[in-house]
Amino acid sequence: MTGRALRRHITSRVMTVLVIALSFTAVLALVLILGNLVLKGASSIDWAFFTKSPVPAGQSGGGVANAIVGTGIIVGVAALIGVPLGVGAGIYLAEYGSGRLGFLVRFVADVLNGTPSIVIGIVGWTFIVKPSGHFSALAGSVALAILMIPMLARTTEEMVRLVPHSLREAALALGYPRWRTSLKIVARTALGGIVTGCLVGIARIAGETAPLLFTALGNLNFSVHVTQPMQALSLQIYVYATGPFEDWHRLAWASALVLMGLVLIISLLARWVTRQRYGSIR
């Protein structure tokens, strides 16, 4: 009896230590990446980094203001396109998607979710860049939106499904039409989760590079015209990190740190919204 108890005790201890060690290994990756970025990038971050555009190759100084603003615009427009479509599709799937069409939409969303992002970049190039004759930020936004829609559709669906069936019944019993029950009661109750899903989706696409290579292209100058090529932080990192100049490498590290920080802030925001979920979301 005591032998068995001892063995169980030891097994329990060993497993606990193992699980803790594995968790640390998983977190270690993030710590190493962040640490490395701070180490190599933080020293290059100053006021000029955020306010100036790049200087001609070979010269030192300058900043990545164009890329920061570009990422903001491209991701913002992508969210404007992607959020209504993705959330709408998700509500449809959860509330009405039990039939054949729902199955089809769900299947397409899952396939699209697994599509490599560079393929989606090529789609943007084929359908927008090529017909219009030039690269544009808008094409980049559309590519990112396509990336975002299936992601949002599936997370929204999950969140809406979490709303208890009894709430739907209560609304219907009051004489609510079905669409109004879906929007005013069910979707509104799931709003915290939906917003979290949107923020996570935005954080995901903010760091995408491949879909932008064939669409937004990049731009060394400051530009806010969505019909023209535009720089983004991810593109900037790609170009600068693979370039030959020491100064470019420096800026690439700093840009990576800023991008990472941006994604981190959005993720933290998502966390915060989740915690407020069943609070007073109006």
Binding site: S98, S166, L172, L174, G175, R188, Y278, S280
Partner: protein, 258 residues
């Protein structure tokens, strides 16, 4: 207290059968619910009493695979006729469920106003009056009048259930359906709901489904006993509980089965 002989028959089922796929959950039930009375439906679990109730406001048909044959007459109009809108119907037939179902994103005020707003906008003052009236009818007004804009989730379980009653009566329905309204409440909460039944039957025709025979005896004027989907016996509550006509009814109310 007890309805007189010439009471207008407001709600009535005629040969009503409710199905889930092939399964007949309610079998050929013909039952009158006299106006301004409380009718209790009793019977063991799974006897079809909740399903019968859900046929009265066409909630039954929302379950996939569910269907109905026979008629439910509200003021002599079959609510299952092709030109009757279930949405309009549900505004005339309010319902309260087993567990409180306040809308979690809405305040106390907005919960009560929800059924009114769905009928179209109305002036602020009129809305305030309607909300206050509904909360008074549900005996909740004194407890919440100073915090109408607090979250409905701040209320206790019993208060939430009375809030649901207020929400159901705010649009001034003709019929009020209560589906085991006290099943999740403590004795004090249960007592308050039972008192409400007495008060509210002046205004509404009430149908209450309950597990609890004492409750049926306390709150209702008429009691219907169901078993395996069929209506076994129906009569005035005092008579059904003291001199049941059928052996089966007597066996159930004396606790010998069910």
């Amino acid at each position: 207290m007890v309805a007189s002989a010439n009471t207008r028959l407001q709600l009535e089922t005629a040969h009503l059968t409710a199905l889930f796929g092939q399964h007949r959950a309610v079998r050929d039930v013909s039952l009158l619910f006299p106006a301004h009375t409380v009718t209790a439906i009793i019977g063991p679990s799974g006897c079809g009493k909740s399903t019968l109730l859900r046929c009265l406001n066409r909630m039954h048909e929302l379950t996939p695979g569910a269907s109905v044959t026979g008629e439910v007459l509200l003021d002599d109009v079959n609510i299952y006729a092709g030109d009757v809108s279930p949405i309009e119907l549900r505004r005339r037939v309010g319902m309260v469920f087993q567990r409180p179902t306040p809308f979690p994103t809405m305040s106390i005020y907005d919960n009560v106003a929800a059924g009114l707003r769905v009928n179209g906008r109305r002036p602020r003052a009129e809305m305030d009056d309607a909300v206050a009236r509904a909360l008074q009818q549900a005996a909740l007004w004194d407890e919440v009048k100073d915090r109408l804009h607090a979250s409905a989730l701040d209320l206790s379980g019993g208060q939430q259930q009375r809030l649901c009653i207020a929400r159901a009566v705010a649009p001034q329905p003709e019929i009020l359906l209560l589906d085991e309204p006290t099943a999740s409440l403590d004795p004090a909460g249960t007592q308050r709901i039972e008192e409400l039944c007495h008060a509210l039957k002046r205004l509404y025709t009430i149908v209450i489904v309950t597990h609890n025979m004492q409750q049926a005896a306390r709150v209702s004027d008429y009691t219907a006993f169901m078993y395996l989907g069929s209506l076994i016996e129906v009569g005035r509550t005092d008579e059904l509980f003291t001199k049941p006509k059928l052996e089966q009814t007597e066996a159930y109310i004396t606790g010998r089965f069910g």
